[in-house]
Amino acid sequence: MEINTTVKIGKLILKNPVMPASGTFGYGLEYKNFFNLSELGAIVTKGLSIIPVKGNKPQRLIETSSGILNSIGLQNIGVENFINEKLPELKKYKIPIIVNIYGKTIDEYIRVAERLSEVNIDAIEINISCPNVKKGGIQFASDKKAIKKLLYNIKKIYTRTIIVKLSPNINPVEDIAILCEEYGADSVSLINTLQGLAIDIIKRRPVLSNIYGGLSGPAIKPIALAMVHKVYKKVKIPVIGIGGIMTYKDAIEFLIAGATAIQIGSANFRDPLTCIKVIDGIKNFMKLNKIDDINLLIGTLNY
Protein backbone atom coordinates (compact mmCIF):
# COMPACT_ATOMS: atom_id res chain seq x y z
CA MET A 1 0.00 0.00 0.00
CA GLU A 2 1.19 3.47 -0.91
CA ILE A 3 0.92 5.73 2.08
CA ASN A 4 1.22 9.47 2.29
CA THR A 5 2.72 10.92 5.44
CA THR A 6 3.25 14.45 4.14
CA VAL A 7 1.78 17.26 6.20
CA LYS A 8 1.81 21.04 5.86
CA ILE A 9 2.59 23.61 8.52
CA GLY A 10 2.25 27.08 7.02
CA LYS A 11 4.58 27.20 4.02
CA LEU A 12 6.50 24.19 5.34
CA ILE A 13 6.06 20.79 3.81
CA LEU A 14 7.12 17.93 6.05
CA LYS A 15 7.57 14.49 4.55
CA ASN A 16 6.42 13.06 7.84
CA PRO A 17 4.98 14.70 10.95
CA VAL A 18 7.79 13.80 13.34
CA MET A 19 10.45 16.21 14.61
CA PRO A 20 12.54 16.59 17.74
CA ALA A 21 11.51 19.17 20.34
CA SER A 22 13.69 22.19 20.96
CA GLY A 23 16.36 21.77 23.60
CA THR A 24 16.49 18.01 23.36
CA PHE A 25 18.27 17.75 20.04
CA GLY A 26 21.10 20.24 20.45
CA TYR A 27 21.77 21.83 17.08
CA GLY A 28 20.89 18.57 15.40
CA LEU A 29 24.35 17.34 14.60
CA GLU A 30 24.90 15.42 17.82
CA TYR A 31 22.42 12.82 16.55
CA LYS A 32 24.10 12.09 13.25
CA ASN A 33 26.02 9.21 14.85
CA PHE A 34 22.73 7.56 15.73
CA PHE A 35 20.74 7.85 12.52
CA ASN A 36 20.41 9.62 9.21
CA LEU A 37 18.97 13.02 10.03
CA SER A 38 17.29 13.30 6.63
CA GLU A 39 14.70 10.79 7.79
CA LEU A 40 13.11 13.36 10.10
CA GLY A 41 10.14 15.50 9.18
CA ALA A 42 12.18 18.52 10.28
CA ILE A 43 14.89 19.53 12.69
CA VAL A 44 14.17 21.91 15.55
CA THR A 45 17.16 23.58 17.18
CA LYS A 46 17.89 24.47 20.77
CA GLY A 47 16.44 27.91 21.63
CA LEU A 48 18.67 30.65 20.25
CA SER A 49 19.05 34.19 21.51
CA ILE A 50 20.71 37.24 20.02
CA ILE A 51 23.92 36.76 22.01
CA PRO A 52 25.29 33.57 23.58
CA VAL A 53 23.78 32.69 26.97
CA LYS A 54 25.60 30.85 29.75
CA GLY A 55 22.56 29.26 31.32
CA ASN A 56 21.85 28.37 34.94
CA LYS A 57 24.17 27.07 37.59
CA PRO A 58 24.04 23.28 37.93
CA GLN A 59 22.25 21.15 39.15
CA ARG A 60 20.09 21.71 36.11
CA LEU A 61 18.14 18.51 35.77
CA ILE A 62 16.59 15.82 37.93
CA GLU A 63 14.62 12.69 37.19
CA THR A 64 11.06 12.50 38.52
CA SER A 65 8.42 9.77 38.24
CA SER A 66 8.14 9.11 34.51
CA GLY A 67 9.65 12.46 33.71
CA ILE A 68 12.37 15.00 34.20
CA LEU A 69 12.50 18.46 35.68
CA ASN A 70 14.98 20.85 34.09
CA SER A 71 16.19 24.39 34.40
CA ILE A 72 18.96 24.56 31.82
CA GLY A 73 18.41 28.27 31.62
CA LEU A 74 18.38 28.38 27.83
CA GLN A 75 22.15 28.07 27.44
CA ASN A 76 23.00 28.54 23.76
CA ILE A 77 25.72 29.66 21.40
CA GLY A 78 23.77 32.64 20.05
CA VAL A 79 22.23 33.10 16.63
CA GLU A 80 25.45 34.30 14.98
CA ASN A 81 27.52 31.30 16.00
CA PHE A 82 24.68 29.03 14.98
CA ILE A 83 24.61 30.51 11.51
CA ASN A 84 28.36 30.26 11.10
CA GLU A 85 29.20 27.02 12.84
CA LYS A 86 26.13 24.77 12.62
CA LEU A 87 23.86 25.83 9.81
CA PRO A 88 26.14 24.98 6.85
CA GLU A 89 26.43 21.36 7.93
CA LEU A 90 22.77 21.08 8.90
CA LYS A 91 21.70 22.29 5.46
CA LYS A 92 23.28 19.21 3.90
CA TYR A 93 20.50 17.02 5.24
CA LYS A 94 17.95 18.65 2.94
CA ILE A 95 15.14 18.70 5.45
CA PRO A 96 13.31 21.71 6.85
CA ILE A 97 15.17 23.52 9.61
CA ILE A 98 13.10 25.16 12.30
CA VAL A 99 14.96 27.49 14.60
CA ASN A 100 13.57 27.95 18.08
CA ILE A 101 14.12 31.53 19.28
CA TYR A 102 13.67 33.57 22.42
CA GLY A 103 14.63 36.85 24.01
CA LYS A 104 14.54 38.70 27.27
CA THR A 105 12.85 41.66 25.64
CA ILE A 106 10.61 42.03 22.62
CA ASP A 107 13.43 43.75 20.85
CA GLU A 108 15.74 40.78 21.36
CA TYR A 109 13.17 38.43 19.83
CA ILE A 110 12.86 40.72 16.82
CA ARG A 111 16.58 40.92 16.33
CA VAL A 112 16.98 37.14 16.29
CA ALA A 113 14.15 36.78 13.81
CA GLU A 114 15.62 39.50 11.65
CA ARG A 115 19.02 37.84 11.53
CA LEU A 116 17.40 34.51 10.67
CA SER A 117 15.40 36.10 7.85
CA GLU A 118 18.71 36.69 6.12
CA VAL A 119 19.70 33.02 6.02
CA ASN A 120 18.25 29.91 4.55
CA ILE A 121 16.17 28.35 7.29
CA ASP A 122 12.58 27.27 6.87
CA ALA A 123 10.72 28.39 9.94
CA ILE A 124 11.08 29.95 13.34
CA GLU A 125 9.44 28.63 16.47
CA ILE A 126 8.99 31.45 18.98
CA ASN A 127 9.34 30.27 22.57
CA ILE A 128 7.17 32.60 24.66
CA SER A 129 7.74 30.72 27.95
CA CYS A 130 10.48 33.17 28.90
CA PRO A 131 10.58 35.83 31.53
CA ASN A 132 10.10 39.30 30.12
CA VAL A 133 12.89 41.22 31.79
CA LYS A 134 11.34 44.61 31.06
CA LYS A 135 8.13 43.53 32.74
CA GLY A 136 9.90 42.38 35.86
CA GLY A 137 10.15 38.76 34.88
CA ILE A 138 6.52 38.04 34.07
CA GLN A 139 6.38 35.42 31.33
CA PHE A 140 5.69 36.66 27.83
CA ALA A 141 3.33 33.72 27.65
CA SER A 142 0.86 35.45 29.95
CA ASP A 143 1.22 38.92 28.49
CA LYS A 144 -1.24 39.29 25.64
CA LYS A 145 -0.06 42.76 24.70
CA ALA A 146 3.54 41.61 24.45
CA ILE A 147 2.57 38.65 22.28
CA LYS A 148 0.65 40.90 19.92
CA LYS A 149 3.53 43.30 19.61
CA LEU A 150 5.98 40.42 19.14
CA LEU A 151 4.01 38.86 16.32
CA TYR A 152 3.13 42.13 14.66
CA ASN A 153 6.79 43.06 14.43
CA ILE A 154 8.17 39.67 13.54
CA LYS A 155 5.63 39.25 10.73
CA LYS A 156 7.00 42.39 9.14
CA ILE A 157 10.54 41.13 8.93
CA TYR A 158 10.24 37.36 8.81
CA THR A 159 8.14 36.15 5.89
CA ARG A 160 8.56 32.40 6.06
CA THR A 161 6.71 30.11 8.48
CA ILE A 162 6.15 31.35 12.03
CA ILE A 163 5.26 28.92 14.80
CA VAL A 164 4.49 30.12 18.33
CA LYS A 165 5.33 27.69 21.11
CA LEU A 166 2.80 27.96 23.92
CA SER A 167 3.25 27.60 27.65
CA PRO A 168 1.00 25.18 29.54
CA ASN A 169 1.37 27.28 32.67
CA ILE A 170 -1.01 29.89 31.31
CA ASN A 171 -4.68 29.08 31.47
CA PRO A 172 -6.67 28.84 29.32
CA VAL A 173 -4.06 28.09 26.70
CA GLU A 174 -6.70 28.33 23.95
CA ASP A 175 -6.97 32.08 24.47
CA ILE A 176 -3.31 32.57 23.66
CA ALA A 177 -3.58 30.24 20.67
CA ILE A 178 -6.49 32.26 19.28
CA LEU A 179 -4.51 35.45 19.76
CA CYS A 180 -1.54 33.99 17.88
CA GLU A 181 -3.76 32.94 15.01
CA GLU A 182 -5.31 36.38 14.86
CA TYR A 183 -1.91 38.03 14.74
CA GLY A 184 -0.67 35.95 11.89
CA ALA A 185 1.11 32.94 13.37
CA ASP A 186 1.15 30.08 10.86
CA SER A 187 1.02 27.45 13.58
CA VAL A 188 1.15 26.94 17.32
CA SER A 189 3.16 24.25 19.04
CA LEU A 190 2.40 23.00 22.53
CA ILE A 191 3.17 22.20 25.26
CA ASN A 192 6.37 23.57 26.67
CA THR A 193 7.28 22.25 30.14
CA LEU A 194 5.07 22.61 33.22
CA GLN A 195 6.48 24.42 36.20
CA GLY A 196 7.62 22.04 38.92
CA LEU A 197 9.76 21.73 42.02
CA ALA A 198 11.87 19.02 43.66
CA ILE A 199 13.36 19.28 47.13
CA ASP A 200 16.36 17.65 48.74
CA ILE A 201 14.90 16.79 52.15
CA ILE A 202 18.25 16.50 53.90
CA LYS A 203 19.68 19.83 52.74
CA ARG A 204 16.19 21.38 52.68
CA ARG A 205 17.07 23.00 49.41
CA PRO A 206 15.59 22.83 45.94
CA VAL A 207 17.38 20.14 43.93
CA LEU A 208 17.74 22.52 41.01
CA SER A 209 19.84 25.59 41.66
CA ASN A 210 17.25 27.70 39.85
CA ILE A 211 14.61 26.53 42.40
CA TYR A 212 11.81 25.80 39.92
CA GLY A 213 12.19 23.76 36.77
CA GLY A 214 10.09 22.60 33.86
CA LEU A 215 8.50 19.16 33.91
CA SER A 216 8.51 17.03 30.75
CA GLY A 217 8.30 13.40 29.75
CA PRO A 218 5.56 10.73 29.79
CA ALA A 219 4.25 12.06 33.11
CA ILE A 220 2.77 15.09 31.34
CA LYS A 221 1.37 13.36 28.27
CA PRO A 222 -2.30 13.38 29.35
CA ILE A 223 -2.09 17.11 30.16
CA ALA A 224 -0.44 17.91 26.83
CA LEU A 225 -2.98 15.85 24.93
CA ALA A 226 -5.90 17.66 26.57
CA MET A 227 -4.41 21.05 25.75
CA VAL A 228 -3.67 20.11 22.14
CA HIS A 229 -7.22 18.95 21.67
CA LYS A 230 -8.68 22.10 23.21
CA VAL A 231 -6.52 24.35 21.07
CA TYR A 232 -7.29 22.30 17.96
CA LYS A 233 -11.01 22.91 18.48
CA LYS A 234 -10.47 26.66 18.66
CA VAL A 235 -8.05 27.53 15.86
CA LYS A 236 -7.79 26.84 12.14
CA ILE A 237 -4.00 27.01 11.87
CA PRO A 238 -2.16 23.70 12.28
CA VAL A 239 -1.24 22.61 15.78
CA ILE A 240 2.03 20.87 16.63
CA GLY A 241 1.64 18.44 19.55
CA ILE A 242 4.38 18.07 22.15
CA GLY A 243 4.55 16.39 25.54
CA GLY A 244 5.61 12.98 26.73
CA ILE A 245 5.69 11.22 23.38
CA MET A 246 7.66 7.98 23.68
CA THR A 247 6.12 5.66 21.07
CA TYR A 248 4.20 5.77 17.80
CA LYS A 249 1.05 5.15 19.81
CA ASP A 250 1.55 8.36 21.74
CA ALA A 251 2.19 10.20 18.48
CA ILE A 252 -1.02 8.86 16.97
CA GLU A 253 -2.98 9.95 20.04
CA PHE A 254 -1.76 13.49 19.37
CA LEU A 255 -2.61 13.30 15.66
CA ILE A 256 -6.12 12.07 16.45
CA ALA A 257 -6.48 14.82 19.06
CA GLY A 258 -5.79 17.36 16.34
CA ALA A 259 -2.05 17.76 15.94
CA THR A 260 -0.85 18.09 12.35
CA ALA A 261 2.68 17.23 13.43
CA ILE A 262 4.39 16.24 16.66
CA GLN A 263 7.65 16.89 18.48
CA ILE A 264 9.58 14.46 20.64
CA GLY A 265 11.58 15.83 23.55
CA SER A 266 12.74 14.04 26.66
CA ALA A 267 12.35 10.61 25.09
CA ASN A 268 15.40 11.36 22.93
CA PHE A 269 17.57 11.28 26.04
CA ARG A 270 16.40 7.82 26.93
CA ASP A 271 16.52 6.46 23.43
CA PRO A 272 18.18 8.61 20.77
CA LEU A 273 16.40 6.54 18.11
CA THR A 274 12.93 7.50 19.34
CA CYS A 275 12.12 9.81 16.41
CA ILE A 276 13.01 7.16 13.88
CA LYS A 277 11.11 4.45 15.71
CA VAL A 278 8.05 6.70 15.92
CA ILE A 279 8.18 7.44 12.18
CA ASP A 280 8.37 3.71 11.39
CA GLY A 281 5.67 2.94 13.92
CA ILE A 282 3.27 5.45 12.41
CA LYS A 283 3.81 4.05 8.94
CA ASN A 284 3.24 0.49 10.12
CA PHE A 285 0.13 1.51 11.99
CA MET A 286 -1.24 3.17 8.88
CA LYS A 287 -0.57 0.08 6.78
CA LEU A 288 -2.10 -2.26 9.31
CA ASN A 289 -5.16 -0.09 9.62
CA LYS A 290 -5.33 0.70 5.90
CA ILE A 291 -5.03 4.44 6.31
CA ASP A 292 -3.36 5.68 3.15
CA ASP A 293 -3.07 9.34 4.07
CA ILE A 294 -1.95 10.62 7.43
CA ASN A 295 -4.23 13.62 7.04
CA LEU A 296 -7.13 11.18 7.46
CA LEU A 297 -6.00 10.63 11.04
CA ILE A 298 -5.53 14.23 12.10
CA GLY A 299 -8.28 15.65 14.29
CA THR A 300 -10.53 12.60 14.00
CA LEU A 301 -11.41 12.15 17.66
CA ASN A 302 -15.04 10.99 18.00
CA TYR A 303 -17.05 11.77 21.07
Binding site: T24, K54, P58, L61, E63, I68, P272
Partner: protein
Protein backbone atom coordinates in the same frame (compact mmCIF):
# COMPACT_ATOMS: atom_id res chain seq x y z
CA UNK B 1 26.59 4.27 19.12
CA UNK B 2 23.89 2.14 20.67
CA UNK B 3 24.87 -1.27 21.98
CA UNK B 4 22.74 -4.24 22.93
CA UNK B 5 25.13 -6.45 24.82
CA UNK B 6 24.75 -9.76 26.57
CA UNK B 7 25.80 -10.03 30.19
CA UNK B 8 28.69 -12.44 30.68
CA UNK B 9 28.44 -12.01 34.42
CA UNK B 10 27.24 -9.51 37.00
CA UNK B 11 28.92 -10.41 40.28
CA UNK B 12 28.89 -8.95 43.73
CA UNK B 13 32.52 -8.20 44.58
CA UNK B 14 32.18 -6.63 48.00
CA UNK B 15 29.58 -4.89 50.09
CA UNK B 16 27.45 -2.88 47.62
CA UNK B 17 29.97 -3.21 44.79
CA UNK B 18 29.27 -5.16 41.62
CA UNK B 19 31.33 -6.15 38.61
CA UNK B 20 29.53 -6.34 35.27
CA UNK B 21 31.05 -7.88 32.18
CA UNK B 22 29.48 -7.53 28.75
CA UNK B 23 30.14 -9.07 25.36
CA UNK B 24 30.67 -6.37 22.72
CA UNK B 25 29.92 -7.27 19.12
CA UNK B 26 30.58 -3.94 17.50
CA UNK B 27 33.85 -3.01 16.00
CA UNK B 28 34.46 -0.08 18.31
CA UNK B 29 37.11 0.24 20.99
CA UNK B 30 36.79 2.50 24.04
CA UNK B 31 39.56 4.62 25.49
CA UNK B 32 40.51 4.97 29.17
CA UNK B 33 38.34 7.68 30.78
CA UNK B 34 35.36 7.14 28.53
CA UNK B 35 32.04 6.00 29.87
CA UNK B 36 28.83 4.25 28.84
CA UNK B 37 25.24 5.33 29.51
CA UNK B 38 23.07 2.40 30.48
CA UNK B 39 19.32 2.01 30.01
CA UNK B 40 18.36 0.44 33.30
CA UNK B 41 14.78 -0.65 32.81
CA UNK B 42 11.94 -0.87 30.33
CA UNK B 43 9.75 1.00 32.76
CA UNK B 44 9.69 4.79 32.55
CA UNK B 45 9.98 4.96 36.30
CA UNK B 46 13.72 5.22 35.84
CA UNK B 47 13.42 7.59 32.97
CA UNK B 48 17.07 8.48 32.45
CA UNK B 49 19.97 6.26 31.58
CA UNK B 50 22.82 6.02 34.09
CA UNK B 51 26.47 6.73 33.32
CA UNK B 52 29.31 4.37 34.33
CA UNK B 53 33.02 4.57 33.62
CA UNK B 54 34.71 1.82 31.72
CA UNK B 55 36.68 -0.35 34.13
CA UNK B 56 38.27 -2.45 31.45
CA UNK B 57 38.01 -3.50 27.85
CA UNK B 58 39.76 -6.52 26.44
CA UNK B 59 39.00 -9.02 23.67
CA UNK B 60 35.58 -7.54 22.94
CA UNK B 61 34.61 -7.70 26.58
CA UNK B 62 33.62 -4.56 28.42
CA UNK B 63 33.69 -4.31 32.19
CA UNK B 64 32.22 -1.83 34.60
CA UNK B 65 32.32 -1.75 38.39
CA UNK B 66 29.49 -0.03 40.21
CA UNK B 67 28.26 0.72 43.67
CA UNK B 68 24.60 0.17 44.56
CA UNK B 69 23.41 3.50 45.89
CA UNK B 70 19.85 4.00 44.63
CA UNK B 71 17.07 2.50 42.62
CA UNK B 72 18.80 2.26 39.26
CA UNK B 73 21.94 0.59 40.56
CA UNK B 74 19.76 -1.74 42.62
CA UNK B 75 17.89 -2.91 39.54
CA UNK B 76 21.15 -3.19 37.63
CA UNK B 77 22.52 -5.46 40.34
CA UNK B 78 19.61 -7.86 39.86
CA UNK B 79 20.36 -8.50 36.17
CA UNK B 80 21.50 -11.96 35.32
CA UNK B 81 23.93 -13.62 32.94
CA UNK B 82 22.46 -13.81 29.44
CA UNK B 83 20.22 -10.79 29.82
CA UNK B 84 20.77 -7.92 27.41
CA UNK B 85 21.93 -4.47 28.44
CA UNK B 86 21.27 -1.50 26.20
CA UNK B 87 23.83 1.26 26.45
CA UNK B 88 25.26 4.22 24.60
CA UNK B 89 28.99 4.26 24.11
CA UNK B 90 31.73 5.07 24.05
CA UNK B 91 31.14 8.53 25.41
CA UNK B 92 33.29 11.50 26.41
CA UNK B 93 36.95 12.28 26.00
CA UNK B 94 39.84 10.24 27.33
CA UNK B 95 42.81 10.58 29.67
CA UNK B 96 44.86 9.74 26.61
CA UNK B 97 43.99 13.10 25.09
CA UNK B 98 46.42 14.51 27.64
CA UNK B 99 49.27 12.03 27.26
CA UNK B 100 51.85 12.72 24.62
CA UNK B 101 54.26 10.19 23.20
CA UNK B 102 57.23 11.46 25.10
CA UNK B 103 55.45 11.25 28.45
CA UNK B 104 56.62 7.68 28.78
CA UNK B 105 60.23 8.74 28.80
CA UNK B 106 60.26 12.16 30.38
CA UNK B 107 57.62 11.83 33.07
CA UNK B 108 56.53 9.87 36.02
CA UNK B 109 52.80 9.48 35.78
CA UNK B 110 50.80 9.53 38.99
CA UNK B 111 47.21 8.33 39.22
CA UNK B 112 44.99 9.09 42.20
CA UNK B 113 41.68 7.41 42.75
CA UNK B 114 39.05 7.10 45.43
CA UNK B 115 35.71 5.34 45.61
CA UNK B 116 34.20 4.30 42.30
CA UNK B 117 36.66 6.71 40.68
CA UNK B 118 39.13 3.87 40.70
CA UNK B 119 37.13 2.23 37.91
CA UNK B 120 38.25 4.52 35.12
CA UNK B 121 41.83 4.58 36.45
CA UNK B 122 42.07 0.81 36.23
CA UNK B 123 41.50 1.00 32.49
CA UNK B 124 44.14 3.70 32.29
CA UNK B 125 46.58 1.55 34.33
CA UNK B 126 46.09 -1.33 31.92
CA UNK B 127 46.79 0.93 28.98
CA UNK B 128 49.86 2.52 30.57
CA UNK B 129 51.22 -0.88 31.48
CA UNK B 130 50.74 -2.20 27.94
CA UNK B 131 52.49 0.83 26.56
CA UNK B 132 55.21 0.50 29.14
CA UNK B 133 54.77 3.90 30.75
CA UNK B 134 56.12 4.40 34.27
CA UNK B 135 53.35 5.18 36.73
CA UNK B 136 52.28 5.02 40.36
CA UNK B 137 48.70 4.50 41.47
CA UNK B 138 47.48 6.01 44.73
CA UNK B 139 44.40 4.10 45.74
CA UNK B 140 42.37 5.59 48.60
CA UNK B 141 39.42 4.06 50.39
CA UNK B 142 37.58 4.50 53.67
CA UNK B 143 38.34 1.03 54.95
CA UNK B 144 39.82 -2.20 53.64
CA UNK B 145 36.30 -3.41 52.85
CA UNK B 146 35.89 -0.67 50.27
CA UNK B 147 38.99 -1.66 48.34
CA UNK B 148 37.97 -3.90 45.53
CA UNK B 149 40.08 -5.94 43.16
CA UNK B 150 42.92 -5.73 45.63
CA UNK B 151 44.84 -8.42 43.76
CA UNK B 152 44.35 -6.73 40.46
CA UNK B 153 45.66 -3.40 41.71
CA UNK B 154 48.60 -5.06 43.40
CA UNK B 155 49.83 -5.94 39.91
CA UNK B 156 50.52 -2.27 39.37
CA UNK B 157 52.79 -0.02 41.31
CA UNK B 158 50.10 0.87 43.84
CA UNK B 159 50.16 2.70 47.17
CA UNK B 160 47.08 1.89 49.19
CA UNK B 161 45.71 4.20 51.87
CA UNK B 162 42.65 3.84 54.03
CA UNK B 163 41.08 6.49 56.25
CA UNK B 164 41.14 4.11 59.21
CA UNK B 165 44.43 2.36 58.42
CA UNK B 166 42.69 -1.01 58.03
CA UNK B 167 44.83 -1.61 54.92
CA UNK B 168 47.97 0.04 53.60
CA UNK B 169 48.80 3.48 54.88
CA UNK B 170 46.52 5.38 57.17
CA UNK B 171 45.30 8.81 56.03
CA UNK B 172 44.39 10.50 52.79
CA UNK B 173 45.96 9.84 49.42
CA UNK B 174 46.55 13.53 48.81
CA UNK B 175 49.11 13.38 51.60
CA UNK B 176 51.05 10.67 49.74
CA UNK B 177 50.73 12.58 46.51
CA UNK B 178 52.77 15.40 48.03
CA UNK B 179 55.41 12.86 49.06
CA UNK B 180 55.97 11.33 45.65
CA UNK B 181 55.27 14.16 43.24
CA UNK B 182 58.18 15.74 41.37
CA UNK B 183 58.45 18.55 38.87
CA UNK B 184 57.90 16.30 35.90
CA UNK B 185 54.99 14.32 37.28
CA UNK B 186 51.89 14.19 35.11
CA UNK B 187 48.90 13.62 37.36
CA UNK B 188 45.52 11.99 36.67
CA UNK B 189 42.79 11.90 39.28
CA UNK B 190 39.32 10.50 39.58
CA UNK B 191 37.21 10.57 42.69
CA UNK B 192 34.71 12.54 44.74
CA UNK B 193 34.76 16.33 44.41
CA UNK B 194 36.18 16.97 47.92
CA UNK B 195 39.20 14.86 46.97
CA UNK B 196 39.69 16.84 43.78
CA UNK B 197 39.39 20.08 45.73
CA UNK B 198 42.07 18.97 48.18
CA UNK B 199 44.39 18.13 45.30
CA UNK B 200 43.71 21.50 43.74
CA UNK B 201 44.42 23.25 47.01
CA UNK B 202 47.90 21.70 47.15
CA UNK B 203 48.66 24.24 44.41
CA UNK B 204 51.13 21.98 42.66
CA UNK B 205 52.78 23.33 39.53
CA UNK B 206 52.19 20.05 37.70
CA UNK B 207 49.66 19.36 34.99
CA UNK B 208 46.73 17.64 36.66
CA UNK B 209 43.87 16.10 34.73
CA UNK B 210 40.82 14.96 36.58
CA UNK B 211 37.72 13.06 35.60
CA UNK B 212 34.47 14.63 36.79
CA UNK B 213 31.03 13.31 37.50
CA UNK B 214 27.84 15.29 37.13
CA UNK B 215 24.15 14.70 36.75
CA UNK B 216 23.48 13.58 33.19
CA UNK B 217 20.29 13.84 31.18
CA UNK B 218 21.51 12.40 27.91
CA UNK B 219 25.23 11.58 28.03
CA UNK B 220 25.84 12.61 24.42
CA UNK B 221 25.87 16.36 24.52
CA UNK B 222 22.37 17.56 23.77
CA UNK B 223 20.64 18.37 27.05
CA UNK B 224 23.27 20.64 28.67
CA UNK B 225 22.52 19.32 32.13
CA UNK B 226 25.98 17.95 32.96
CA UNK B 227 27.93 21.19 32.70
CA UNK B 228 30.72 22.41 34.96
CA UNK B 229 32.35 25.81 35.14
CA UNK B 230 35.58 26.10 33.20
CA UNK B 231 37.73 29.24 33.28
CA UNK B 232 38.05 31.32 30.13
CA UNK B 233 40.89 33.61 29.13
CA UNK B 234 39.10 36.80 30.06
CA UNK B 235 38.92 35.81 33.72
CA UNK B 236 35.39 34.64 33.17
CA UNK B 237 34.02 31.14 32.80
CA UNK B 238 31.96 29.06 30.46
CA UNK B 239 29.89 25.96 31.08
CA UNK B 240 31.36 22.85 29.50
CA UNK B 241 29.69 19.51 29.15
CA UNK B 242 31.12 16.72 31.29
CA UNK B 243 29.70 14.19 28.83
CA UNK B 244 31.28 15.73 25.74
CA UNK B 245 34.20 18.07 26.44
CA UNK B 246 34.81 15.92 29.53
CA UNK B 247 34.71 13.90 31.70
CA UNK B 248 38.48 14.61 31.85
CA UNK B 249 39.43 18.26 32.34
CA UNK B 250 42.52 20.17 33.34
CA UNK B 251 41.83 20.38 37.07
CA UNK B 252 43.12 23.92 37.40
CA UNK B 253 40.83 25.19 34.69
CA UNK B 254 37.73 23.93 36.49
CA UNK B 255 35.97 26.13 39.02
CA UNK B 256 34.73 23.81 41.73
CA UNK B 257 31.59 24.46 43.77
CA UNK B 258 33.53 25.25 46.94
CA UNK B 259 36.44 27.02 45.26
Amino acid sequence: MIFDSKIIYNKKISENFYHLKLKIKKNLVPLPGQFVNILIDDSCDIFLRRPFSIFNYENEKLEIVYKVIGKATKILSSKKKGETINFLGFLGNSYLDFISNNDNTSNDIILLGGGTGIASLNFLCQWLKNKKYKFTLLYGAKTKKEIFFLKNFKKFNTIFTTDDGSYGNKGFITHYLEKIVNNNSLIFACGPEPMLLTIKNLELKNKIYASFESYMGCGFGVCLSCVIKVKTDNNGFEYKRVCKEGPVFDLNSVILEKD
